[in-house]
Symmetry: C2
Subunit: 249 residues, 2 copies
DNA sequence: ACCTGAACACCGTTCAAGT
DNA sequence: ACCTGAACACCGTTCAAGT
């Protein structure tokens, strides 16, 4: 070995090469033993910069989130556009590196990139008219919706483009030949099942959540303006399941 | 070894014990080498019943889905209630075995339990008034919403109850001490961030999607038979996205 | 301080051999 | 037909030793 000068290995370079290795050879290939040679270094040298493999994975997750945040226009005046921009950027950043994304998308990162993302979303919630508990609650719905869908999609893409295409065909193949007496509903729409665009669903699911934010924010605004009456006023019961309503005491 | 008569090992028993081992010792412990002794058998004996580890994982996923389907009342007349029932049952079944659930929730199973689930959801979409491409599209939004949230939640639970509680505290600890000048919005609601109930968010996210299904189904019904649609109430306006309105009768 | 190389305690999977 | 045990090609992580 000995192909590289001492002190030239950095966390940033390790993260970069780790992502390359995982995308090129499959996420199973992301091992210290392969990563070392790819960096021109002994496999165990990486452990001088990351305590264990988990710490490396979290750093990769942070990098993906950094990539997403870099694309967001933080001066966009509309809170709704800011959230959509962040969501689309996150989706793009994760799908651009599906194999590593699948490994980290459901992790809690607790790094600076995560703090900044939380800050951005909560700021948007407050601009929408929510505050306190309602803002915290809706932040979580928005964040988890983006993360859950992103993780799901990353997992789908991580299996590889060829397998994915084959999976799409499987909807045509396997589902079309299911016995019609036992699966009449599937047979009725089987031909359409493979046509569905996943990006459209992501957007739709998000729009629905943001509609809810908007409705609740406006209602809360009315309350502040003096209107103690209205649909939302009666819903502020301590035992109600409708957590999104602003029940500030 | 030799603790067990020949021919008494079955796929069902392997799946059952595998789930026990994973929940008791952590999902990392789900290896053939530990599974064998737990079954009173050589580690490689399991390979006589499952081609490889992936096939075992898919069988575990199918079992989880079977558990969920067994709880659903298939004769429930309201399509909306059937979907909610299926969704809650899926959530319960997966959270009841979080460690194995985390391993399989994002997989495509392509087994009988999955076919039956697809059939149930598409049937509900058609009863809601959707058909063809719209039914297929909305099926995917509903199914992916349930799967994505379930997978996400399973991953959260899989880290262990103690770590989870510590994570909850982390919201109090780490987020409360963030510098207020850089993260003013976080500081404003930090005290509420740890109070959010995840089950409520799951329900809310689902209700939002089902509202969309209902709105589209009613609209389609109006187009088809000029206004009267038995499956949905007339008081549900198709263009109303105000999710505070519940169209359930 | 940073890196190496051997060692330790594990993996999944294959395969000839047993019953 | 079903199961065993050895073997093969891998893992992450530790640690004494080098520079």
């Amino acid at each position: 070995m000995a192909k590289r000068e001492r002190g030239t290995l950095s966390r940033a370079e390790i993260v970069r090469v780790a992502m390359e290795v995982a995308e090129a050879e499959g996420s199973d290939a992301l091992t210290f033993r392969r990563l070392g040679p790819a960096l021109g270094v002994a496999p165990t040298a990486v452990l001088r910069h990351f305590r264990d493999k988990d710490e490396l994975l979290l750093a990769i997750g942070a990098q993906l989130l950094e990539n997403a945040l870099a694309e967001v226009d933080h001066d966009e005046p509309s809170w709704r556009e800011r959230i959509m921009s962040l969501s689309r950027a996150t989706r793009r950043a994760f799908v651009a590196h599906p194999r590593v994304a699948a490994l980290v998308a459901t992790r809690t990162l607790r790094q600076e990139a995560e703090f900044r993302t939380v800050e951005l979303i909560i700021g948007a919630m407050e601009q929408a008219g929510l505050s306190g508990r309602a803002a915290a609650s809706m932040y979580r719905v928005v964040a988890d919706t983006v993360l859950a869908w992103t993780a799901f999609e990353a997992n789908v893409h991580a299996v590889g483009l060829d397998v994915m295409r084959q999976d799409g065909l499987a909807w045509d193949r396997e589902y079309v030949v299911l016995p019609a007496d036992r699966y009449p509903h599937i047979r009725g729409v089987a031909e359409h099942l493979s046509e569905v665009d996943r990006e459209d669903q992501f957007e739709l699911a998000l729009e629905l959540v943001l509609d809810a934010v908007e409705a609740r924010g406006t209602a809360a605004g009315h309350l502040l303006d003096g209107g103690a009456n209205g649909a939302s006023g009666d819903e502020c019961q301590p035992d109600t399941l409708d957590i999104a309503v602003n029940c500030e005491r």
